[in-house]
């Protein structure tokens, strides 16, 4: 376990992070992930869909959830983490999202402390856009 990672408590909050989903952020992600689907980038095209505008990549929203995990659990997240996410709705470009979570359980196992977290990404109105469960094992 990273020396700076403390043992989590059930109910401990992760985040929140409030992130404006700007066109610049979405473009930067599209270039980095090489995902240039026009639904994310082309306002004219996206306006013809029922979204009415461009939306963020779902994988970008997951990356924001991942930030919560890497900040709290350090190397353990990138060494043995697991994520199970459901996309509930789109994040519109130009709006903001709030990502946050909480530790749901901490269980001692022969491999270390198994930590399960509930995570959520929501729009400014509180509507859930992504609901996820993350697991990470903190080894000693």
């Amino acid at each position: 376990m990273d020396e700076h990672v403390t043992i989590p408590a059930v109910g401990e909050a992760l985040g929140p992070l409030d992130i404006p989903v700007t066109a610049e952020r979405v473009r930067a992600y599209a270039d980095a992930a090489n995902d240039h689907n026009p639904i994310h980038l082309d306002e004219g095209f996206a306006a013809t869909t029922h979204f009415g505008g461009t939306i963020a990549h779902g994988m970008l929203l997951l990356a924001y959830l991942s930030r919560l995990l890497s900040e709290r659990f350090g190397c353990a997240w990138v060494e043995n983490g697991a994520l199970d996410a459901r996309f509930r709705g789109p994040a519109m470009v130009g709006a903001s999202v709030r990502v946050q979570g909480a530790v749901r359980s901490v269980t001692a196992t022969p491999d270390g402390l198994q930590v399960e977290c509930a995570l959520q990404c929501a729009d400014p109105g509180g509507q859930t856009l992504v609901q996820a469960t993350a697991r990470v094992c903190l080894t000693t």
Partner: protein, 137 residues
């Protein structure tokens, strides 16, 4: 290739991905993740970067299906991947069914670093059966 016609068992051509510092730095900047795990000596590749880049073959196809919806995503890290690694990504269709005008595809991603499995992913993709259908979901 028409995603709606892909059947269970179909495997996309495997991809070789060089996860060098330029690629990882661009990703980390794109998602603004300040974690020290992704920087400096001993840096590792963000798991979601590996998964996202492994899906490139799919994202190219998805531009032809603007109504497609990424409904769920699972990710399991088996081993960390050091920056500078070259990994092999395999993507295959595990199941296909049809629901309410959509092809429901469950795809599996498996990533190896040399012979070592390092990451597994699974996603549910809903692809409209009729091209040109308004984007949904």
């Amino acid at each position: 290739m028409d995603l709606t016609q892909i059947q269970a068992g179909f495997a996309f051509p495997s991809q070789t991905l060089l996860l060098d510092s330029a690629t990882v730095d661009a990703y980390v900047r794109g998602v603004e993740d300040p974690s020290p795990s992704y920087r400096g000596a001993g840096a590792v590749v963000p798991p979601l970067a590996i998964l996202a880049l492994s899906m490139r073959v799919l994202t190219d196809l998805l531009t032809q299906h603007p109504g497609a919806t990424h409904a769920s995503q699972r990710l399991t890290v088996l081993h960390p991947v050091p920056v500078g690694s070259t990994v092999t990504a395999e993507l295959a269709v595990r199941t296909r069914s049809e629901r309410r005008g959509f092809a429901a595809l469950i795809l599996e991603a498996r990533v190896r670093n040399a012979a070592e499995p390092v990451l597994e992913g699974e996603m549910l993709l809903m692809v409209p059966l009729t091209l040109g259908r308004p984007t949904h979901g």
